[in-house]
């Protein structure tokens, strides 16, 4: 298990190297000379040259990249061109909002597992057909459509829930007041419900496949009760592929969070990136993307560790 974790952490380093290279390249590829921009309007050529040298902008690409990584390690993500605030600070403020939404969506998404098992155990029944159809329809709805739709119905027409914003929290992400919870409900449901559809559909397929496998027959032949056959032998095997899918799906969740935050006007990383794109604020975009990737890679690591915990073949191999 320890060897496995070490191997995964080494892979993590490689992924992060690639990501920083891409975000750095993004900063470099943007048209315009940063030295000119930094020196300010009406700067003399001498001043521009001075700034260029002072900032190391005249050094080779790899030196600049190493400096960039050095600054990253020290938590320096540059400054926003638009607000002149440190990007790291903006991300520190926005991150809890996004993490709150993502965690809530994942918790909702997990409901897909029991729903999928429920469906699979009643294959072709009324409930199975209903749930599967509903899942397929939901799965096909884009996040922004569902978001605006939910906002219109529950926010404007019924006036049950606020249509945007965030509230106070404890520990950074747990809403501390009822109003704060309310602001979370619509965006989390919007993001989570589509994922429930996906996860339940996958869990159903996986459970059906496992329930036809030979070792289930063996378990029945032993005289185990159907309950023990399903939960003791079937479920663990059926949940493994779903965990993998859920891990990969975290990427989609972050993409969905960007849109959801925009729709519900939540000041998280998603909205930050969205505004950065609109304002061509490259440092903010790069910082946001870097954060999103870190989040994704880290979450994936957690999923993989969970995977190894469930499946001895992953844990014990070599």
């Amino acid at each position: 298990m320890i060897a496995y974790i070490i191997r995964r952490l080494l892979q993590l380093v490689i992924v992060l190297f690639g990501v920083t290279l891409i975000t750095f390249g993004m900063l470099k590829l943007v048209p315009g000379d940063p030295a000119v921009a930094l020196a300010g309007k009406n700067a003399t050529p001498e001043k521009i040259a001075f700034v260029r040298h002072e900032r190391g902008l005249d050094r080779p690409f790899y030196v600049q990249y190493i400096r960039y990584v050095e600054r990253l390690v020290h938590g320096d993500l540059g400054e926003s061109l638009y607000t002149a605030r440190p990007v790291a600070e903006m991300i520190r403020e926005a991150a809890p909002v996004t993490i709150q939404l993502a965690v809530a969506a994942v918790l909702i998404e997990l409901l897909g597992i029991p729903l999928g098992v429920f469906s699979a155990l009643r294959q072709y029944s009324f409930w199975d057909t209903t749930l599967t159809t509903a899942a397929l329809i939901l799965w096909g709805i884009p996040v922004f459509v569902l978001g605006y739709f939910a906002m219109y119905i529950f926010g404007l027409k019924l006036d049950w829930l606020p249509i945007g914003g965030v509230g106070p929290t404890v520990l950074g992400i747990i809403p501390s007041t009822w109003e704060s919870w309310q602001t979370l409900i619509l965006p989390a449901l919007t993001l989570g419900v589509i994922e429930i559809a996906y996860i339940s559909y996958m869990q159903r397929a996986s459970m059906l496949e496992v329930s036809r496998s030979d070792f289930i027959r063996t378990a029945r032949a032993k005289g185990l009760t159907e309950r023990k056959v399903i939960w003791g032998h079937g479920f663990k095997n059926a949940v493994i592929p779903v965990m993998t899918i859920a891990g990969i799906d975290l990427g989609a969740l972050i993409g969905g969070a960007i849109i959801t935050e925009t729709v519900f006007n939540r000041p998280g990383i998603g909205l930050l990136i969205y505004q950065g794109i609109n304002q061509r604020d490259v440092a903010v975009i790069a910082g946001g993307v870097l954060f999103a990737t870190f989040f994704f890679v880290f979450a994936n690591l957690l999923v993989d560790l969970g995977y190894a915990w469930v499946d001895p073949r992953v844990r014990l191999e070599d």
């Binding site: 063996t218 032949a221 185990l224 663990k236 073949r313």
Partner: protein, 341 residues
Amino acid sequence: MGERLLTIKDLSTHFFTHAGVVKAVNGVSFTLDRGETIGIVGESGSGKTVAAMSLMRLIPDPPGKVVEGSLMLGDRDLRTISDDEMRGVRGNDIAMIFQDPMTSLNPVMKVGKQIAEAITLHQDKGKREAWQMAAKLLARVGIPDADKRVDQYPFEFSGGMRQRAMIAMAISCNPDVLIADEPTTALDVTIQAQIIDVVREMQAQFDSGVILITHDLGVIAEISDKVMVMYGGRTVEYGPVDEIFYNAHHPYTWGLLASLPRLDESEKTRLTPILGQPPNLITLPAGCPFTARCPYRREECRDKWPAHEAVGPDHGVHCWIPVEERVAIRAGLPHFKEPAA
């Protein structure tokens, strides 16, 4: 032979599918005594496995159903006892070894737990005790380092060892009846012989009755006392093992024997295949299912199922060809150069 364990009479199991009714087993009868081994032989789709699964009441319903017959385990009717009682029978009175040891064990559960599970279920044993028994059972079926192995997962076992573990699981509750469904098919030839030996040893130790399902007549010859030859869901011939090998009466049995390689054959002879395809179980003829592939078929074969005909001690056959004619045909077959009859 010991006490009668199983009495199967006129068992028919059908599957009701969208394409039609699949008549997998049609009127199969046999008995099994303590200490006895019956070999059920036939090609894929002949109904061997379905017959065994019907016995375990493990036919998925829907679409499958035992539509006819009586299945008696001692004086218990396996068709009418409650589900709870049936669970008490499975693994305890009747245990099963499956064909593919690679997929028949739960990949994410320790081998020891999979064996101990059956023990705690059917016997009044604690978890620790069951675990120790599991280790002993593994040692008994010839797995070295059983104390360590019991703590491992199936993927750490080789195919042969997994099948040994399956056998350990099956014998864990000392079953009266052991059903081995093609236990050697998925294994290397060298391992096959070992597994057959293990089955035989376990049978001797526990004095169980064994139902051995296979399409390998070599395995049958080695371990069976009697043989049931199945084709298209029907028993075409039934008898003591020597009778089946040396005094076979059904053209399908002849075909099976002729397709076996013989080591005593001095000249290089080709194996004789049975021509044609296995029957479609949905559109079976009312008569003998082998009709379409039988080189000696006659008019009555297709439409009427021949009655049971006794041709020797405990030896019966279902065939329309008159017995004298059968003996004459058989005498002319290359495989039966020195017929025992």
